[in-house]
């Protein structure tokens, strides 16, 4: 459990750093939202609870590193994580197009929740200006990056499941 928390923490921190330092420089309509894609992969692969917790944690990291009002992305990513986790039983994430389609759905949901939140609370004056072009750009880029981020997430999961305890038990039995 502690190993998993540490790995997830490391993954989120690294993703936030890479987003802030590298990805915004790419000549794209919108940089890929790695944190969101991690939340989607975790939710669909591990279920609602992991999606919710990782969503809240990723959103909080995003709030902290981006300087946005605390809670905006925490809430938006949390809802996205819950939604991703709730479709775990009906989505086969190993299908070729599944990560891309889920990325498009998650980006749309995150934009709608985030936009509604900042509009309702008056945190920004015009969140719907350029909303559709921004959303389409971000969804397309996220769809392209989804498989790569999913592979990265699976690699981290494999790290967490290294069979050290089983080896230790086998060793004891042999002796």
């Amino acid at each position: 459990m502690l190993m998993r928390i540490a790995l997830y923490g490391l993954l989120l921190t690294a993703a936030a750093a890479v987003e802030g330092a590298w990805l915004w420089r790419l000549p794209l309509p919108a940089p890929p939202d790695v944190l969101l894609l991690i939340v989607v992969a975790a939710g669909v692969r591990r279920g609602l609870e992991t999606g919710a917790v990782l969503g809240a944690a990723a959103g909080y990291v995003r709030d902290l590193t981006s300087g946005s009002p605390l809670g905006v992305f925490t809430f938006a990513y949390l809802i996205t994580g819950v939604a991703a986790g709730s479709v775990m039983s009906v989505v086969d994430f190993n299908q070729r197009l599944a990560p891309a389609l889920m990325a498009i759905a998650a980006t749309t949901l995150m934009y709608l929740v985030g936009g509604a939140l900042v509009a309702t609370t008056g945190l920004t004056s015009a969140p719907w200006v350029n909303f559709l072009p921004d959303l389409l750009g971000a969804a397309a880029i996220n769809a392209l990056a989804a498989r790569v981020v999913d592979a990265l997430y699976c690699r981290v999961e494999q790290w967490d499941r290294r069979p050290f305890p089983a080896k230790a038990i086998a060793y004891r039995i042999e002796r």
Binding site: A14, A16, R25, V53, G114, S125
Partner: protein, 271 residues
């Protein structure tokens, strides 16, 4: 199932509490001990990555521009051959004088001590305009310090860690700057809108405001020093029934090309 509902409910309540605890005021944004630790962890990593990306970017630019530079060099050589020495000397002199005048004028506007900082990251969302720079409390940077570039006002310091600081740009919707028109001395408030243009509010309806008039900081709230260029008027907004008029202002700083800034660490009046 019950456990899942409990976890989700708890997290939703926590997120809403977090959101409502600081409302719309960036002054009340308190990241706490855990938040500071996360920022302190991410900031230096981001700084190292940004430096690497800068180096790669420079190398790539150099590689791709070699052909262009060769052509440019040939053209410049031909041009230098055509021009007489006297014209060249005078042009150089004029350009140098212009640059020095601009520097002197800007330095005069900036009171107190200032530290230069490099932009090492920025928010990728469309709703907020915040950048991360590689100077922090170790360098004397404090919250609400004014941040400028050679062309004018950039914003103010939002959050500070030991080695980094987040800057709230004047285009962010949470930003409001006391402003005054340079020629007519008409006062107003330049509000960020989360977009490229600022909205200058509370201007008297009786005044005719010319397009292109320069807007500078008024220094009235004590947050920003007076006289820093904010931008120029691009259009006027006159709504029926309102006692005042508004104007759209194009910032003098190009935020998408911002690489270095100056943090004025002894400029505030309330120090």
């Amino acid at each position: 199932m019950r456990r899942q509902i409990a976890v989700v409910t708890l997290l939703v309540v926590a997120a809403l509490v977090l959101l409502t605890s600081q409302a719309r005021l960036p002054e009340r944004r308190a990241v706490g001990r855990i938040g500071s630790m996360v920022i302190a962890l991410v900031g230096p990593v981001q700084g190292v990555l940004a430096r690497g990306a800068d180096a790669l970017s420079r190398a790539w630019r150099l590689y791709t521009e070699i052909g262009h530079l060769r052509r440019e060099n040939r053209r410049l050589n031909e041009e230098v051959g055509r021009l007489s020495d006297e014209v060249g000397r005078l042009r150089e002199q004029a350009q140098a004088t212009q640059r020095l005048e601009r520097l002197l004028e800007f330095r005069r506007l900036v009171p107190g001590r200032a530290v230069g900082a490099r932009v090492i990251g920025r928010d990728i969302s469309q709703w907020f305009a915040v950048i991360l720079v590689d100077r922090g409390s170790r360098d004397g940077v404090r919250r609400n310090d004014t941040v400028v570039a050679a062309d004018g006002l950039v914003g103010r310091v939002l959050t500070v860690t030991a080695s980094t600081a987040q800057i709230l740009l004047i285009t962010d919707a949470r930003s409001a700057v006391g402003a005054v028109l340079q020629q007519s001395r008409e006062a107003g408030v330049a509000d960020g809108q989360g977009q490229a243009l600022l909205r200058l509010k509370y201007l008297s309806r009786a005044r005719e405001i010319p397009m292109g008039e320069v807007v500078v900081t008024s220094g009235q709230a004590g947050l920003f020093p007076r006289g820093l260029p904010i931008g120029t008027i691009t259009s006027l907004v006159r709504e029926q029934g309102l006692p005042y008029q508004e104007a759209l202002v194009r910032p003098s700083v190009r935020f998408d090309h911002l690489e270095e800034v100056l943090i004025l660490i002894e400029s505030r009046l309330d120090r």
